[in-house]
């Protein structure tokens, strides 16, 4: 890469964009190999420093891209077989650069946060943690920078691996390891679909590079069915990574990992990979109406299901997890209704406030000495001021109260749902309902946790304290972002030219054409949603202001047990498969396959034992047998052979 070395002086960031993933990789190597030698602060500095470095690079790149010059950099041929050529190439355009910012930016904050959050860990585990985290960022960057599906897939599985490693970070705990396995395997199911989609593309188009695939002449090679199948397969892949029905159950379990990890991987970045991938292939998707509807419906269904479950969860992180699933559902709804921009926009805002909320919960857990059950909390607002306020901002943002970020993105999604040609009103209705549920359970969480009186043990109580600045500062920054983050996508009706993000992304995402509604309707919808949300919040306030623990019953119990989906999977898929494998192992293999082989051997032995009895030792019988055989041969030869 000599020519890139020279590029450092030359002022074009795009030429040296390969540095962006390289920094985290270096961080991973240093922290990973030197985790025994390096001191904790050292590790922390390296871990966060490399991310900061790539964040700076990303800003630089973003500026360049904003300046209008995008770039595809090919480095070497990853795979070159016959006509199939898969280069190791990065694509730097509006979409990827935006994601770069989110990943590195939020990632940096979370790294900083982790420095304090994880400080009790033993040094080498501390190093392990940061190396994993860096590796994750590396893979995530690969994912968004990759200029073709294969590189994307590499990142795709890479992040899956890191999430596996980080969920199982406390590997002594077997439950955590199980959760980790679950996450990886469920992702694998999706990945298989993804792979098949890639093969399909190769078979039909002969290439996997984005610019080739999306070019009109290769689109021409694809029949309508091809496109539908490919897009559906890709979407299945996305459901695995972005925790949609039916593959969402791993995400709540993934909360086994350290809280910052949940914030980074299972809220802000990795789980949005699916949205990124679909947004990236928006050209294909826009061409298959069927897939679009499937995406929309699945997304909405997920949003609703997760929201309902979130209503009754008592683990602070579980609530957030389900809310994440639900929010992701919203994003897919947006994708399905063609509002790719809205989806990406929501990815961004969601990254801000969900990261904020997770980190906040982390700070709470930190203060509570590892306690996660909100029923044992309450009245924390007095002790944890910063945490409380930032958390509150997060809640408002996610609930979608103007003018916080959540409002704009969610509003865009609701609007796009409303504008859906056939079933717009239905989609909108359910989406709105879900949004209201969101508001309700978020504030339930808030009130149960922070208001009322403390319900925990005594030593927990006097041990309560605000987290160190290393943790609070990121909270504050994220809170600020959650407040202002929305202004990059103000709808046209409120401010002319306010939809900056839309314009910015327009080169990669063609603005979606829906049945544009009149401004008045738009105002009405906004007002409606905002109003109802406020109602919900108040309801929550009255219900949970000073919460007393009560056991859930009826529907509540069902919800508390997450609609028994896990149990259903266990019963319907896992255990039958296990039984089947057992049968194969203990019956088929042993008695059929092996039995046949050994049977032949035994048959030979048996034949031997019988045949030797012919050797009776009697001369008479020998002669008799000889004569008889002579007789037979003569008869055959002379009378039966012609």
């Amino acid at each position: 890469m000599g020519r890139f070395g020279g590029a450092l002086i030359m002022q074009n960031a795009l030429q040296i964009a390969w540095l962006i993933p390289l920094f985290p990789l270096l961080g991973f190597l240093i922290n990973g190999l030197g985790r025994k030698q390096l001191s904790k602060p050292m590790i922390g500095v390296i871990g966060s420093g490399v991310i900061l470095a790539s964040f700076v690079m990303s800003i630089w790149v973003f500026m360049q891209v904003k300046g209008g010059n995008t770039h595809v950099a090919e480095y070497f041929d990853f795979i070159k077989v016959g006509t199939l050529k898969i280069p190791f190439a990065f694509q730097l355009d509006q979409l990827s650069s935006l994601f770069l910012l989110i990943i590195t930016g939020v990632g940096f904050l979370i790294h900083v946060y982790s420095v304090a959050y994880m400080h009790e860990e033993k040094t080498e585990h501390y190093g392990r943690y940061f190396s994993y985290l860096n590796l994750f960022v590396f893979s995530m960057l690969l994912l968004v920078m990759g200029a073709n599906y294969v590189i994307l897939f590499i990142g795709w599985e890479g992040v899956g691996l890191c999430s596996y490693l980080l969920i199982g970070y406390w590997f002594k705990n077997n439950e955590y390891n199980k959760a980790a396995n679950k996450a990886f395997i469920m992702n694998r199911i999706g990945d298989l679909a993804f792979l098949i989609a890639i093969f399909w593309l190769i078979a039909k188009v002969g290439s996997v590079s984005f610019d080739t695939v999306f070019s009109t002449e290769s689109i021409g090679k694809l029949s309508a069915t091809d496109i539908t199948v490919i897009t559906i397969l890709l979407f299945i892949g996305a459901t695995g990574k972005s925790a949609q029905i039916p593959l969402y159950t791993w995400l709540p379990d993934a909360m086994a990992g350290p809280t910052p990890v949940s914030a980074l991987i299972h809220a802000a970045t990795m789980v949005t990979a699916g949205i990124y991938m679909i947004a990236r292939s928006n050209i294909l998707y826009s061409m298959s109406h069927v897939t679009m509807n499937i995406v929309a419906i699945v997304g909405l269904a997920t949003a609703l299901l997760a929201a309902t479950i979130a209503l009754k969860q008592n683990d602070i992180k579980k609530v957030l997890a389900y809310s994440t699933v639900s929010q992701l559902g919203f994003m897919f709804l947006a994708l399905g209704t063609g509002a790719y921009v809205a989806a990406v926009f929501h990815v961004m805002t969601h990254a801000f406030f969900k990261a904020l909320l997770f980190l906040g919960s982390g700070s709470v857990i930190h203060a509570m000495g590892g306690e996660q059950d909100i029923r044992n909390m309450g009245g924390l607002s007095k002790k944890l001021k910063t945490t409380y306020w930032t958390f509150l901002i997060g809640c408002i943002a996610i609930a979608g109260i103007p003018p916080l970020s959540g409002f704009f993105s969610k509003d865009a999604i609701l609007l796009s749902a409303f504008e859906h040609k056939e079933i717009g009103i239905v989609l909108y209705g359910i989406a709105l309902f879900t949004a209201l549920l969101t508001a309700f359970y978020m504030f339930r969480l808030l009130f149960i946790t922070f208001s009322g009186k403390f319900r925990g043990t005594h030593d927990q109580e006097h041990h309560l304290h605000e987290s160190p600045p290393a943790m609070t500062i990121p909270l504050i920054i994220l809170a600020a972002l959650s407040i202002v983050g929305g202004f990059v996508g103000v709808p046209e009706v409120l401010m002319h030219g306010g939809d900056r993000i839309g314009e910015f992304l327009s080169p990669v995402i063609k603005p979606h054409e829906g049945a544009h509604v009149s401004h008045s309707t738009e105002y009405a919808l906004m007002a409606l949603s905002t109003g109802l949300v406020l109602v919900m919040i108040i309801a929550a306030w009255f219900k949970f202001r000073n919460y007393q623990r009560t056991d859930a019953t009826g529907l509540g119990k069902v919800l508390e047990n997450k609609w028994y989906v896990d149990e259903f999977y266990e019963k319907s898929i896992v255990s039958p498969l296990n039984k089947f494998a057992g049968i194969l192992n203990s019956l088929i293999e042993k008695y059929v396959i092996d039995g046949v082989v050994n049977g032949v051997g035994r048959a030979v032995n048996y034949g031997s034992r019988q045949l030797r009895l012919l050797q009776s030792g009697q001369v008479g019988s020998y002669v008799l047998l000889m004569v008889l055989s002579i007789l037979v041969v003569f008869v055959l030869q002379f009378f039966l052979r012609k």
Partner: protein, 105 residues
Amino acid sequence: MPINYYIFLSIALFCIGIVGVLTRRNAIIIFMCIELMLNAVNLLLVAFSKMHHATNATAGTDGQIFVFFIMVVAAAEVSVGLAIIVMMYRNIHSVDVNFLNRLKH
């Protein structure tokens, strides 16, 4: 005499010999039956030699010479065979072949 008569006669003798081998247990008698078989062959050979002689004046002698050799061999065989039988008799005081069943399977 038609040659077939001789063929049938000697075949008959031959088969009687075989039957003897099959039905008797006394080693000596079995051996005698084998001798009978040989003689059947001899008779057949002589008959054939005459038959061939009829068509071709130079042919035929070889058949009778062969018979001569068969007798020679038979004599040698008998000497050895009886020696073996006697040895057997010395050891187990019987010439019954059914007692020959130490070796089997």
